[in-house]
Amino acid sequence: MKEMSERNKNHTPGGHIGRRLRESLERASDVVVIERDQTTAARPFAAAWVDYREYHEAQRLKSELLRRYRGKALEDVLPGEEVRTARGVCYRLVSRNASRLRTVDPAEAGRRILSDLKLLYGVGEVTEASMKRQGIGTIADLADHPRFGGQARSILKMVEEGDTMGLLDWIGRGFQKSHPLALFSSGFHREEDFILIDIETLGMFQRPIILLGLARVHGNEIRVEQYLLRRIDEEPAALAGLLTHLGGRRAFVTYNGRTFDIPYIRERLAYYGIRANIEGPHFDVLHFSRRAWRDCVPDCKLTTLEHCFLGIRREDDVPSALVPEFYESYMRTGNPGPLVPIVEHNRRDLLTLASLFSKLHEEWQP
């Protein structure tokens, strides 16, 4: 072994091996800056991208923040509290926002679901129309039906028990996951059940989650809790912090969380060998938004919808794709400046998510 270590020494003067590896990783990196003359069609597939102007504005913002917060401590710039968890200590920022979630009430949710006979396999438009003509108004009327009785009773049971998991599954199989009835199933939950989740990461999978944001309703407010990694080694604690919010009749509300946030959290839990069950009813607002608004907005990015429907135009925002770069800059310098817009970006995303979730219910009210 001794002679091997000598060999190693001989091979790495000046760290050229590590440098080469980093460069080759950067070539394979996810973020691509789209130059001015590149058309949308030429945008690289499956990589996050930012456009030229956004990129340069963000760079300017970063330098300004580095200047403004030079020499300041993170705890002073972003006041929060230390939280002790099963996996160590992490840092949490809490903010209260005067806002609510507006869904439908359980009776309304049940009524809407049960009145759609097409939820029964084997019932299409034509059959439904003819049943309605025969006076069969709801699924409840079919509880004793020779052919559909079994299915009808299953659905009734789920509605009675408020089994949203089962309903989402059933609706998703018969219709689409983004069907309005899926959204209305949220009506079986109390406002306090919903947990809105949005994470900021160092990239696309395999890298740390640097900010775990969640929002829940407390009384007349939405309380946003953000687990921010002051150092990378706080990640398991932050994950454990999230886990304390789960359990009970919790239902997830996310924006693209079905594909990104939840699998990512699952992967990081597995990475640290933390065994946890993060299953639960999940309302992915991106899917519903696409269905509702695809034709009236340029794209379905959260910030686009925020601008179109809530009239908010963010100032000094960090584009999602550049969050890793901002955080890396904090890691490198210890200057908390670049974290400020990340935290704000995440908080804003959660609040907008809450608004859009409510707005969708309005949109689909008859």
Partner: protein, 757 residues
């Protein structure tokens, strides 16, 4: 039939002088074995319904695996190795309803063949395994189900490399993993093998994380170092099973040397055609392996032309190669099996796995580069109750000619060592990064990774911001996904991409690209020639054009090297062989265009010098030896140069590699030693263990080199001994006699057995 053909071949004035050697391998009766505990009813049914009785080595494999040991099976091709591990896997799957097994094959074709076997076994034994192939061709829609349901998954090393980061989705499979099988494991050597060794370590880490410790099974062709190889590849001890119990028909192995007189009258291709026709006309079903795709086509074509016009024989000859459509290939495979085809020419596309039945005769046109591959190809002929024939046609290069003159070295005990290097810092750093990104890396408990290197490497990666030490272990903090920046075929990901019409043909490490794919070079890909049209240093891109040309090219380069440090010195009598780190600068100056063995043009190239660190060995020539050369009026520089060439040429015979994997430099005076010195170095950045192994085999290598030079009938050196087709200095100066005297003197001083002259 074979016997009479052979007898008349021996008598024929056309052929007889060229027969360099005849080895008769007698038929052998099967050695059956018994199992300690009987197999279950289902598995017994599978065997009985196919009238299979287990051979001794299969039983040994089953028992060793039942006893919980890792097994490396290295019996010859077609000895029924697969059954030796399939049975215990199914036995385990039957007794443990959750158990899973992973099978890794080097190619997709082999994976698919094996899948059929599993499906068949599942049906016959009634043991459900939902066996499935999971590789790049598996549709996304099926992947989830396979991960969640299948108990046997068949894949390849590249796919495995990409799957490991997603282990949380594979939890069920890894948690229950009981067996990992690597078939054709001898392919995992050199750069590829060293990468695979780390992929296996990553797999073992993840399995351990989920509480599993699977047994490993390696199946390989015959190697000189199976135990060492297995342990290096997997990082665990192995039981070696190498006593073959399967029956064999008799076989005659013939070495045929078109250059028996040192000159040759016909090209080896024409000689091959004549032999091929000779056997085919006698109704012997013959398969002819050629070095290139083009030759496979040409020999078939020439043979057809040579048959009498309108003769049915022409219809019975076909060429078979990798590029054919599956349908065309099946037609040929079927034609062979049903006896409709008598003669088929092929590249090594047919070498393994594909079932074509057994033939009367195999011609191997040119030594395939390893003893191992030669036996695999020769294994295509032979039937249980009938004699068979194999012919090796020697080409005019050192290894072929050495074999022709030293057949005992081929038929004697195995001497090829498969090399894996866990210390190449480039491979290690990339693989380490992959591991860190899969699970936090705790330096204290990662005994599978070479500890001495890892500590320092992690520090270096941390300095680049790629990893960070935390109380939970080292975690990954870099950009991008490491598996995407780390390939298995290369030292580094910055390999050159060789494209033709926008289609990627292959990738090459930088040094190989400079050597073989420079501007204007003629590049062979799967036996087809391409001409390089663009060489883009900045983007590491080479564009080639498919074109048949009647010339080839060779790069002219200048090598300079510096000794950075000596790692180990081995004393052999009065000689000393050093091993250490070198910094090599290869300057590619231009290239030669060669047509009909004549240099017809020289072109200059403007390429930046290539500098890399690698491992090499070197030795100096004692003063009195140098004086002896001068005293006889011989050229000392030429003697060193000839010795260097011959030694590099013979090395692959011991240490499995390509001749081009090893570089060399000989000089009458080197600043690093102050004396006449010969250097041999690994042609890969960071070294790949070749010269490290060679240092330990130096007496033998020196003796083989001496025999090569001594036994070549040429006067002053020829391509079969000291001339290298890729010599950067134009094979000048060269002194064959001087090299011989040097080698003789070296052997004397090493104190080895005296040499007979």
């Amino acid at each position: 039939m074979i016997e009479t053909a052979l007898e008349s071949l021996k008598m024929s004035p056309r052929f007889r002088d060229r027969i360099a050697h005849i080895e008769v391998l007698p038929p052998r009766e099967p050695q059956f074995g018994e199992l300690g505990a009987p197999l279950s009813a289902g598995i017994s049914h599978y065997l009985n319904s196919r009238h299979i009785r287990l051979y001794s080595h299969q039983c040994q494999a089953v028992e060793a695996l039942r006893a919980g040991r890792n097994v490396i099976l290295c019996t010859p091709t077609a000895s029924g190795k697969t059954l030796g591990f399939d049975l215990p896997v199914f036995e385990t799957l039957e007794s443990d309803r959750q158990a899973t097994a992973l099978f890794v094959y080097p190619t997709k074709a082999l994976s698919n063949d094996q899948l059929k076997v599993f499906k068949d076994m599942e049906r016959a034994t009634g043991i459900r395994a939902d066996a499935a192939v999971y590789d790049g061709d598996t549709p996304v829609s099926r992947r989830g189900r396979i991960r969640e349901m299948s108990r046997i998954i068949v894949t390849n090393p590249h796919e495995l490399h990409h799957v490991l980061p997603w282990h949380s989705k594979w939890e069920r499979f890894f948690r229950n993993l009981r067996y990992v099988v690597f078939d054709e494991a001898h392919r995992y050597r050199g750069v590829f093998g060293s990468n695979v060794a780390f992929v296996i370590r990553r797999l073992r880490r993840i399995a351990r994380f989920y509480g599993a410790s699977p047994r490993f099974v390696l199946s390989t062709a015959t190697l000189a170092n199976p135990q060492e190889f297995g342990e290096k590849l997997v990082g665990a001890p192995f039981a070696v099973i190498s006593e073959d119990g399967s029956p064999r028909g008799g076989k005659t192995f013939l070495f045929y040397n078109p250059f028996f007189d040192g000159v040759g009258t016909l090209s080896p291709h024409q000689e091959t055609r004549d032999l091929f026709l000779y056997f085919v006309k006698r109704g012997l079903q013959t398969l002819c392996f050629t070095a290139s795709r083009r030759m496979a086509e040409l020999i078939a074509l020439w043979s057809k032309e040579a048959t009498a016009a309108g003769s049915a024989l022409a219809e019975q000859i076909a060429a078979y190669r990798a590029g054919y459509l599956p349908q065309e290939r099946r037609l040929i495979e079927d034609g062979l099996k049903r006896g409709l085809l008598t003669g088929v020419t092929s590249t090594n596309a047919l070498e393994v796995g594909i079932d074509i039945g057994s033939l009367d005769c195999v011609i191997i046109s040119g030594y395939p580069g390893t003893v191992l591959a030669t036996w695999q190809q020769a294994g295509r002929s032979g039937r249980r109750n009938r004699d068979a024939l194999a012919v090796l046609v020697g080409f005019q290069n050192p290894l072929d000619q050495y074999l022709m003159r030293h057949p005992e070295s081929f038929f004697g005990k195995p001497h090829e060592q498969a090399i894996i290097d866990l210390a190449n810092p480039y491979i290690l750093s990339g693989q380490l990064l992959c591991a860190v990104a899969e699970l936090p890396f705790e330096t204290g408990s990662e005994e599978n990774f070479p500890a001495a290197h890892v500590g320092e490497m992690l520090g270096e990666l941390a300095a680049e911001g790629l990893v960070k030490e935390t109380p939970h272990g080292w975690v990954y903090t870099g950009r991008g996904r490491p598996v995407e920046a780390v390939g298995l075929d290369h030292i580094a990901r910055d390999a050159y991409r060789i494209t033709s019409d926008g289609v990627l043909l292959e990738t090459m490490d930088t040094s190989q690209a400079y050597r073989e794919a420079h501007m204007g070079a003629v590049l062979l890909h799967q036996g087809e020639s391409h001409v390089v049209r663009r060489f883009d240093v900045e983007n590491h891109l080479v564009e080639v054009e498919r074109k048949d040309v009647d010339y080839y090219t060779q790069a002219i380069k200048n090598v300079d090297l510096e000794i950075l440090g000596t790692r180990a010195t081995r004393r052999l009598g009065q000689m000393a062989v050093h091993l250490g780190e070198l910094e090599v600068s290869e300057m590619t100056l231009g290239y030669k265009v060669i047509q009909n063995d004549q240099v017809v043009a020289r072109e200059e190239l403007d390429l930046p010098p290539l500098r890399f660190r690698t491992t090499g060995l070197w030795f100096t020539i004692p003063n009195e030896l140098r004086r002896a050369i001068y005293d006889r009026g011989l050229n000392f520089g030429g003697a060193l140069h000839a010795l260097e060439h011959a030694m590099i040429a013979i090395l692959p015979f011991e240490v499995m590699c390509d001749r081009w994997d090893i570089g060399g430099l000989s000089t009458p005076g080197h600043p690093g030693t102050g004396e006449p010195t010969i250097f041999l170095y690994d042609g890969y950045e960071g070294g790949i263990g070749l010269t490290e192994k060679a240092q330990g085999l130096m007496e033998r290598v020196t003796r083989l080199t001496l025999e090569l030079i001594r036994d070549c009938p040429c006067e002053t050196g020829c391509p079969a001994c000291i001339l290298s087709p890729k010599c950067g200095n134009d094979n000048r100066p060269m002194d064959k006699q001087g090299a011989f005297l040097l080698l003789e003197g070296m052997l004397e001083r090493m104190g080895g057995p005296g040499t007979r002259v």
